[in-house]
Symmetry: C2
Subunit: 331 residues, 2 copies
């Protein structure tokens, strides 16, 4: 039986989509057992009795706009997110799933779940949309502003295992995000990372990837430092939002466009869906002793269900031990 | 009379759109005089006699895929681009306009036109599309992989003058691209740049800008180091191309979408046009002793015409002297 701990109160629309996604997952997967941490009164309207569901009441939970999660953790360990993490750290469950505030998830992960042996940094690794609809893993997307080449190598090994076991890519290709495709491109640290990735036997290195191919590349995992990864992710988001706004403005500008829009609505809906990361799952926080999945803050039931599915698969495939064996064999 | 030197052979489709854009500019602006450097035989089919147009024949020109422009310059100074630059450096014209290969334009700019007094680095500053259709200046977009905070400050002062004089923004707002909007965000160098920009009397500082607002922000100038700027520019490009491909796939998938597409064609064309930087102009290579405009490699007549217009306005507004006075008063 796979045991999951869920933060019932994390996310912009919590607890509704969290509880609904949880119940869907329990119905679909008979090999999971879930403990939800949260405010019983607030969760009650959405809850149903289930033999594999337990509730742990917590009165406090983190605000989505929290600015200093380290301070918060030192002052109050009773927040639903921290309680769910402690439950896993204490060995009562195998993985944490939350749609809570990103920085608090990363900080809690490092302080409570702790870094795995042989791994020097944790990272956020979202699954970003791609033209082939399969998604790609991108890291680090913002857990660190400074990652040394050897940190990126460690994390790339981890992501490579996830791509193989969870995303089912055979011999997954790892690309380094850079300003040019030639080996000599980038900053000194990028050239050093290139060398490490190229020469590591656990990595199927694809080479440098210019972000003008971020959406269409055949690479499965895109790695870079946390500053650049965060910039890439937010630029993708900003460009998509901006283009959507321009398209909407044009559609509204003339009657014939509006007519066309009515015909094209299903295509535009499919278009939007193909860009929606919730179809694929949440972000992995990798490098810790336990599986931690961070669903998007604005997750709906389905997005949260998918995040639970990801956690389940990470446990089923024993990703953490597989990575640990590679790292600690080499060290 | 404003005198411009033009590289007739730079660009993916040269010399045709270069010559056509040049003739359009001569017709429209009676205060410009143009000298074009290029292969007379190749340019002849598109050329017309014009009292303010001179041709200087050059047999060699740079390949758009050139990999080592420094080596090329040392070995052959007769390429059309380098000849045009030398003409300006020698005082025979005021500005260079080219659609040639970016790195060669930057290298030639530094070696031939040379950096202006008080300016420690040159930078590429394209005008990127924006939701308000006015465009924004972004720099450095890739002339340097390492820019110190004080270099970025210098360049921001330059871009601020361009935004005011050429893009006609009153009291233009300068934003620092960063991973969060709070002052404390980013790498140590980003925090240092923040301080410098905030405290400089020549800068109307907007604060940090997360790139999810790159398309919609009200800031007029976006600054960052050359690595990050290049990543942002290529991610915008990659996302736009990727979304276009997805939209096309969806449109082709069903008959009703195709019908809708026929109705919406003008909207989609306007959409595409609003993202087309050639409507606004080329990239400025800033920080040099002379005005240098790098039009997009795939420029058509209109894009190249616009790049010429930009060069003309840079000279008319005396941008370089204005910047020089600020920098050298302070140093």
């Amino acid at each position: 039986m796979i045991k999951l701990a869920i933060d019932g109160m994390g996310g912009d629309f919590a607890p509704e989509p969290i509880i609904k996604g949880t119940l869907q997952a329990l119905d679909k997967y008979s090999n999971i057992e879930i403990t939800v941490f949260g405010d019983e009164e607030k969760m009650a309207p959405f809850l149903k009795e289930h033999p594999r569901l337990k509730i742990v009441h917590t009165t406090s939970f983190l605000d989505m706009g929290i600015e200093d999660p380290v301070f918060e953790y030192r002052n109050n360990k009773e927040h639903s997110l921290f309680k769910a993490m402690q439950f896993v750290a204490d060995g009562h469950a195998d993985a944490v799933v939350t749609a809570g505030p990103t920085q608090a998830v990363v900080v809690g992960g490092q302080l409570i779940l702790r870094k795995m042996k042989g791994m020097r940094r944790a990272a956020i690794a979202p699954i970003i949309p791609s033209y082939d609809r399969q998604g790609k893993i991108m890291l680090d997307s913002g857990a660190n502003v400074d990652l040394a080449p050897e940190h990126i190598l460690n994390l790339a090994i981890y992501a490579s295992i996830v791509a193989k076991e969870v995303l089912k890519r055979e011999n997954p290709k790892i690309a380094l995000i850079n300003i040019g495709s030639e080996e000599s491109k980038g900053r000194p640290q990028d050239r050093e990372t290139y060398e490490l990735l190229k020469n590591n036997e656990n990595i199927n290195f694809f080479g440098n990837l210019e972000p003008k191919e971020v959406f269409t590349t055949e690479a499965d995992v895109l790695v870079t430092d946390g500053f650049t990864g965060n910039i890439v992710m937010k630029t993708m988001e900003g460009t998509a939002i901006g283009l959507g706004m321009v398209l909407e403005r044009e559609i509204k500008s003339k009657l014939r466009n509006k007519i066309g829009y009515l015909f094209m609505k299903p295509a535009l809906r499919a278009f939007k869906k193909s860009l929606d990361a919730s179809e694929i799952g949440g972000a992995l926080v990798i490098g810790l002793n336990h599986v931690l999945i961070k669903a998007h803050g604005s997750s709906n039931d389905f997005a949260f269900f998918n995040a639970i599915r990801q956690a389940k698969e990470m446990i089923e495939k024993d990703v953490i031990n597989t990575v640990g064996n590679i790292l600690n064999k080499k060290d």
